[in-house]
Symmetry: D3
Subunit: 226 residues, 6 copies
């Protein structure tokens, strides 16, 4: 079975902390040892946010900001690689073919962002599609998909299960305003819909949630089932 | 003044026809001679559609289909380059930095798609942002942004003018169904919104429309004005 | 045993047809399952011809035409890859080292053209030499090497067997006139001669001919035996 | 006149602060406007230190740590580029040829580290040699070359002037112990000696020091004069 | 006017000698100063021959031998670049687009071989075609095109003038035998024919011959006139 | 067990001689067959010296000279690859990640120099660190580390054993003067010290010395033991 895990920057590296990275690496290794083909896509986290803020103050345009963000995700990918054993491809994958080839050969593949205009959410969805993954897991800072932003709206309700099309419908208005934060961005949702990809959105603060979700199908997040 | 023109595949190469490519090249050269910095992003057209159909029959996944589409857009870019004179960068730009560097040096830069998961619509918007373009023109097969698909709904009304946010609102539901065809895709709309980019969507079947829109501000399409 | 198959564009993709590509893929897989190391080099076919015609009308020079042709061969390579199972290297090989490395690792490697000035015929011969192939098969639109162009000269006689040097002698005058079409071009013939490579030229319209030739040594084409 | 400036990470980005980067950019632009050819090599600073510490805790080896450090220097280079106007090459130079080519064309070139095992100090010295610079300036966190570590030894004396060979002699023992910090590392010193390169080591906390040193030859640091 | 000069390895570097390289560089500079756009393609010479002999003894195949030969031509290109002033592109061009782009910007471009299976003769012909050169000059170790090998046959007659088609006819039989050495190889001759390229083959031992041929049209070699 | 062997240019190719290369290849293969993971870094030798001398006469700067030297080391790497069987990675590794990845997959990896400013001595030390080698062997033209240059000073004493720190202390003054030749350069010594790498410096003129040292721990050189 083949799994792509998207580890949000706010989950892997809200700030730099070897312990957190180690914990995530341990889960990835557990899954690999259990026989899963694994690829992980990691986000930018706190360092990305700081760099992007500084660059914006310096007048960088949005594409330049994206490029800086991508660079940081790749350093985070290096951290995760450093924490993984000999089964990981020691190179950060730079496109879907690199990652797919590593997975095909039985390696764990780690990548960050690829191109301005695409979040690592979208990269994870496209990679899942490219490697014909059986499951895509988003380990995010919220514990599932809500009908409103749970951080600002008390009455926000979490979905237990959604169709991919419903995910797009839920995410589209959220992603329209800069302020609101969808747990998975709209492009990612559309790629999930396009591929009919089985997806789980869960709280990644504790990486054990990823392990339980993949190994036992148990989690408190949202299941997107085509 | 700096302009990015997105020439849809259905506009540049619905099928292969040197005359059409020449006409578009002539407009690009006219604009360059009039002192505009110009970059153009071209789509895939009929050949892309045929290849993608064949590849889909062969079991290619969506990312592989995107890669094939990107390859075709780059060949179309070569056609446009062949039709342009000595001011064009003879290399098809493969990322925003290549294109931006060519424009900065005074060359006309031509590019196609870049990465799976992004249409050439989105590439054009990101490039416009990257080079700090004053204007982004979408030369498409419809003559503007409508409130419904004009090819299937008689009562569809064309917008004369939209805010970027309104463009996102209009385009979002259209892009939700595979059948419907937004004149500009949702990721592009969101990039336009993010950058607050002055944009025109017009009928590119006759490339003179592009010329008039840029030189004189005259066109029958839709103005997106931040 | 190691085999390089050159699948002419007019054989793989005279026009785009998934069935034809599938049939060729099936033969490649059969050979791989029978224990052969396989690499295939594919040509451009009808789409290449159309693009090159259009680009010539636009004033492209011969090197630019070659580049467009190479791009199309690589898309055709993607089609063949899409039709092949998990043993194929999912990347189109871009030089001999990539292809050789894939073959060395036990993958099927697919490539198209490489560089202006060289046909895929010549690429196949050089690749066969590079991977120390035991056999090189040209699946072409004619059913062997003739002493004259069989499409225009009724009395043209097919050679059953040739020495590599004789192949060069036969092919050299044919390739002098633009009109005439040698089944294998002169540079390829000279590379075959240089390497002393066992080669078969056969009618590839039916891919079963390739299978029979490799597995059983049976074919109606021309044997080039050093 | 051609100048290479090495801006230490602790000088450009002890922590992320747009103001500091802007001030350095302003000096680079002033020098460029005064007619100097300028290339700058930037270090890693606080973010590099944090990432390297985390990666070391994760078991990364020294080469992996270097790679992470290089990645951070390149993001810092992006910051400086964002702060510079249109004369800067918008791509971070990745080798001496890229940087040299940009300088030759009249662009300001910015680069970070290149390869594990070499500090940005050494990169700056090699780049200065490659572009035949007339002057190499090290803007560091100490205000010159001392005969001992001034942060720990009160009686440390600053050199006003040194021969390149003397610089090597001074720096060699300092760089032997991990604890001690030479203002310029040993490989850099040896490259300066090899090239006979006119060099100034000065306190870069205030970027005006760089400006005065280049424009007027006035500074409180150490002159290395061949 | 635009000129491509092919400087044979036996002419530039029969053995390593700075004086010879300088003399060729001086001619290239003279032509550039006289207003010509210049690109030069250099061969491998004595070092290539020695390396190829050693590699053949070690069991390298012909493609590997070609790769070694190409590497040596690129080092020779570096020598010529080192001997040229600031107008030369300091990077050895690695494909036609790099070289063409440099020439288009007014730089002198130097390249060696590109791909196994193609001599630098053929590279020069393709480059001349790509940059729409007005003249292609082969500076070789013989003083023109003969009807037989002048080194072994006393009665060999030099052609003063040939049509491109005649060049192909003359060269084809020569290139059939490994022993014989055509002054220009068959693939190059065919590319010259394809492009209808004005070409001169002359004795390059004295680089002044190149200068006279280009500046004054005076030489003792063979004119190929389409 | 994992071993990196640095084969000095003066040891592998004082001049071009297939026999010498074969003998070194035989030792590498013996070690691989004995179960060792092997990577080798080769130097430039006589051809590098000749080319660098010529380029210096032509006015090349030190970085350009380094680049030429690196190119030659890579050709030497091709020779060694040609002499090795099917277990060698047929591509010359161009960075530590390439080499490390090849070793991780069980291939023998061969590389030359990487970047100006670093000798192949330093490359070997960094590679050993990167692949977590158990042993680093320098096969040089002297038979160990001496307290003075044995070629000029009769009383020079060879060290049987050194700490890495002592190696740095011994090598530092030697490397200060251009004339003196340390058996291992200073940057390499510092990398060995940084990594605490078990290292042997021995006379590589007879490659059997390498075999005995690795297989049996027997040699007449110097042991550097952390």
């Amino acid at each position: 079975m083949r799994v792509v895990v998207s580890i949000g920057g706010s989950v892997l590296a809200p700030n730099l902390d070897a312990r957190r990275v180690e914990d995530h690496a341990a889960v990835v290794e557990t899954l690999a040892e259990a026989g899963y083909d694994i690829a992980a896509v990691v986000g930018g986290g706190g360092v990305a946010r700081d760099y992007i803020g500084t660059a914006r103050d310096l007048g960088a345009n949005e594409v330049q900001l994206d490029q800086i963000g991508i660079d940081v995700t790749r350093i985070n990918a290096r951290l995760l690689i450093a924490a993984l054993g000999s089964r990981v491809d020691p190179k950060v994958a730079r496109d879907y073919e690199d990652a797919g080839d590593a997975v095909r050969r039985g390696d764990i593949s780690i990548m960050g962002g690829i191109m301005p205009g695409q979040t690592t959410d979208a990269v994870a969805a496209a990679l899942a599609e490219y490697v014909d993954a059986d499951l895509l897991v988003y380990a995010t800072s919220v514990d599932g998909v809500y009908d409103a932003d749970p951080s600002s709206q008390d009455e926000a309700q979490k979905y237990t299960q959604l169709l991919p099309t419903e995910l797009v419908d839920v995410v589209a208005p959220m992603s329209r305003d800069a302020g609101a934060s969808a747990p998975v961005d709209l492009l990612a949702a559309k790629l999930i819909q396009r591929a009919g990809m089985r997806t789980i959105v869960l709280d990644g603060a504790d990486p054990q949630h990823i392990e339980s979700a993949v190994l036992d199908g148990e989690h408190n997040g949202t299941d997107i089932i085509p």
